[in-house]
């Protein structure tokens, strides 16, 4: 067995991740294999020591500094949205079977903070189903299904969004993809989220 697999088994044993049968077999193996037993004891000591490492707390000014930082970030975001808030009509083709996406702001609201009807369009000619997930529906599949027009390859959905930045993805036949025509960010989950800046006034 590879050395890393041995270590992995030891930690799985120590963290109670082994099913009962495997655990029994591992215990028997420990009786027969002195070097495995020695590695196990070392790992057990390491784990105990790691749990004794003291927990730290940030300094007393932490919460105040964080509040200031968030307020500053929000101010920057507002400025950025005012300057760049109404992106041009996007129409970008991706390779082969891919998606052409357009996001269109249709109807500005009456008040500064009133929702804006926002239509998402994606060209997915070979797709069997397309959905829209984003912060506005808590990324829940099944809430915002996109509809294909008769004899067309474009799928559409309109949602009411308050002004501000919104992150979203399309779910094309169960696979989450960003919008190729819009900016995206690393989503800290191993993928990318597209975003749109919705404003209630056209530039």
């Amino acid at each position: 067995m590879k050395a890393e697999e041995r270590t992995a088994r030891i930690t799985r044993f120590l963290l109670n991740e082994m099913p009962a049968d495997e655990r029994r077999a591992f215990l028997k193996e420990l009786e027969r294999d002195a070097s495995l037993a020695e590695e196990m004891e070392f790992a057990r000591t390491l784990m105990a020591s790691a749990r004794e490492l003291p927990a730290l707390e940030p300094g007393p000014e932490f919460l105040g500094s964080l509040s200031l930082r968030l307020a500053r970030d929000a101010q920057k975001e507002q400025t950025r949205t005012r300057r760049f808030g109404y992106p041009a009509f996007g129409l970008v083709s991706a390779a082969a079977a891919a998606c052409i996406a357009v996001v269109l702001w249709m109807k500005p609201g009456d008040r500064a903070d009133s929702p804006v009807t926002t239509t998402f369009q994606v060209d997915a000619p070979n797709a069997g189903s397309v959905e829209l997930v984003g912060d506005f529906n808590l990324w829940t599949a099944g809430k915002t299904r996109m509809v294909r027009e008769a004899n067309a390859s474009v799928w559409k959905a309109s949602v009411q969004l308050p002004p501000g930045r919104h992150y979203f993805q399309y779910v094309v036949d169960g696979k989450r993809i960003p919008d190729p025509s819009l900016p995206s960010v690393d989503d800290d989950f191993g993928g990318e989220d597209s975003y749109v800046d919705v404003t209630e006034d056209r530039p």
């Binding site: 050395a3 041995r6 790992a43 390491l46 020591s49 790691a50 004794e52 003291p54 300094g59 800290d188």
Partner: protein, 183 residues
């Protein structure tokens, strides 16, 4: 549906996701110690760790709406902390700050986390040994031995394959053995 770890409060996460600032503040209060502890163990500098913790919660605030509950909240937080630590360790400031750390810790104005009464002798030795590991082995060790992440979770949090995560945990253990036995 959110995956829940013991001690986690998914309802607070859900409220914060919906824009409830009080719920976000509660999350900060709940997790600031853990984030600070991870960050300190990863960057070996209290002042850098404070900056990392600020950055982590700023990113969480900005990205919380995108948290889809596909991992435990604490695992996501661990991943964001790792991302922030990697970023700060690339900065020129980190180079000098880490190099200056022993004197920083000895300065009277800064509490030395290694001197707290609750720390046993063996954990002090481990804390010192951890500083000698490369950041990726520290990440692997902390994720597995301190946070009890499964290998799948560790792989996700550290942007590695599962086999690579296992390899890193193994190498971290081997290196720690060498360091601790050499003392």
């Amino acid at each position: 549906m959110l995956l829940v770890r013991e001690g986690e409060k998914p309802q607070v996460v859900a409220k914060a996701q919906a824009g409830d600032r009080a719920a976000f503040n509660e999350l900060v209060l709940m997790y600031r110690g853990r984030v600070m502890t991870w960050a300190y163990r990863l960057v070996s500098s209290r002042s850098l760790a404070e900056d990392v913790a600020q950055e982590v919660f700023a990113r969480v605030y900005e990205g919380l709406a995108r948290f889809r509950g596909e991992s435990k909240f604490s695992t996501w937080l661990f991943r964001v902390t790792i991302n922030c630590c990697r970023d700060i360790l690339k900065s020129p400031r980190a180079f000098f700050e880490v190099a200056d750390e022993p004197s920083v810790l000895n300065a009277a104005s800064v509490a030395d986390p290694e001197q707290t009464a609750s720390e046993s002798q063996r954990s002090k030795r481990l804390a010192e040994a951890l500083k000698k590991l490369t950041p990726e082995y520290r990440e692997a060790f902390l994720g597995r031995f301190l946070e009890d992440l499964s290998f799948d979770e560790l792989a996700w949090a550290t942007h590695q394959s599962v086999s690579s995560a296992k390899m890193r945990v193994h190498r971290a253990v081997i290196q720690l053995k060498g360091i601790l036995e050499a003392k």
